[in-house]
Symmetry: C2
Subunit: 208 residues, 2 copies
DNA sequence: TACTGAGATTGACATTGTCAATTGACAATG
DNA sequence: CATTGTCAATTGACAATGTCAATCTCAGTA
């Protein structure tokens, strides 16, 4: 018999297919992502992706999780560029990193926050990846709250932060905001608005 | 010859098809919206929709515009429920009306802010409908600015308002926020945050 | 050497969007 | 009144796609 694949090998091939699929998605859009094309781009035959994914929905879900993990990693790195104790600045950096990701990977950004089946909540794995993503900002919110900076509980402000940022980036990814200058203008206005709405009066936004 | 259809009749049949298509969309999702099913639901034959729409993309674009017009009408009505000179309250009502619309018509909401072709901006008609929609809030922003309430120019704050609200409603429509209580919590927190970030210090949020 | 069971490929089919050809009805014309 | 031209509407046909099922290919085993 043909040697059975180890789970590591399976994971590796899955990862290869996912990478390839994400490339097609970002370069030619979701409509261009057909299983036949993916197979061709990966140098395998038509049905091969079915050996690694139950169906197209499962492939796309795996793409979402991979995309989210990339965003999470980028946000974590961005936060580390701010001083250890300046949580507000860390949150700014996280917001900017999301915006950057959305600008560079609009199709992936859209996919990542869109479950396929309308009317169905995200898969458990997808949800988990989203929570890991949100956790990056939420932990900074909690620290800020411990410093007494915040006007509302950190989990609630984190939701507002996430939702607002998501709207902005979505509009850009959907090309409803068409140019980068406008986007950056709204982004910085939003940054200022949220900071001013989040932070308790009497605190300087960013003590130097 | 068969009597040529008047432009009114054409518009009427287009409107019928659009209504029917929006029903299918909201009840069974975008994937269920096939031209064949639409034809069947409308009691016409397979190809008939092509007499009124160039292709499926044109139909869907018309659906977007119809959906936006409904939102615009609802927002206008909602604004009228607040006192004539309380622009901030009018903006709150507009925000609530968008949220309501998103809760009741998630699939239509998603469609309305999603051009089909990824990487392509909205069609001119679509863009126009979006601008008409935004104008409802923007005019109130301008009035508020004339009263000296706002911390930044009204068009800029309007963009922030729109983007933040859009993010919140999108997350709910995509079922990334799953329950209504959480949604309402974030919505009201966002309302408070934006009001506090928009309004110049020294003004009461809503003078009575 | 023949067999087995895993991965990999190919065949086949239903669904869908859409172009092209056909049909059907009726007003204008002779 | 028969004919005809024209436009709405229907049906035929095809390519693309997702996916099930059958087949194929071989390395290891008996």
């Amino acid at each position: 018999m043909v040697r059975a694949l180890s789970t590591d090998e399976i994971d590796e091939r899955r990862a290869t297919l996912i990478d390839s699929a994400l490339s097609i998605l970002e370069s030619d859009g979701l409509a261009a992502l057909t299983l036949r094309r993916l197979a061709e781009a990966s140098g395998v035959s038509r049905q091969t992706p079915y050996l690694y994914f139950k169906d197209k929905a499962a492939l796309v879900d795996a793409m979402r999780i991979a995309g989210l993990n990339r965003m999470t990693a980028a946000a974590t790195t961005a936060a580390a560029s701010a001083p250890d104790d300046d949580y507000v600045e860390q949150l700014r950096q996280i917001g900017r990193s999301y915006a950057q990701f959305g600008l560079k990977n609009p199709a992936v950004y859209k996919l990542v926050f869109t479950p396929i089946r309308p009317d169905e909540p995200p898969s458990p794995e997808h949800k988990e990846a989203i929570e890991a993503n949100q956790a990056v900002a939420e932990s900074r919110m909690k620290h800020a709250a411990e410093d007494g900076l915040l006007i509302l509980p950190p989990d609630r402000l984190n939701n507002v932060f996430w939702a607002a940022l998501h709207g902005l980036i979505s509009l850009r990814a959907e090309k409803l905001i068409t140019d980068d200058e406008t986007f950056e203008q709204i982004r910085s206005d939003m940054e200022q608005t949220l900071a001013s709405g989040f932070i308790r009066k009497g605190f300087r936004p960013t003590p130097k």
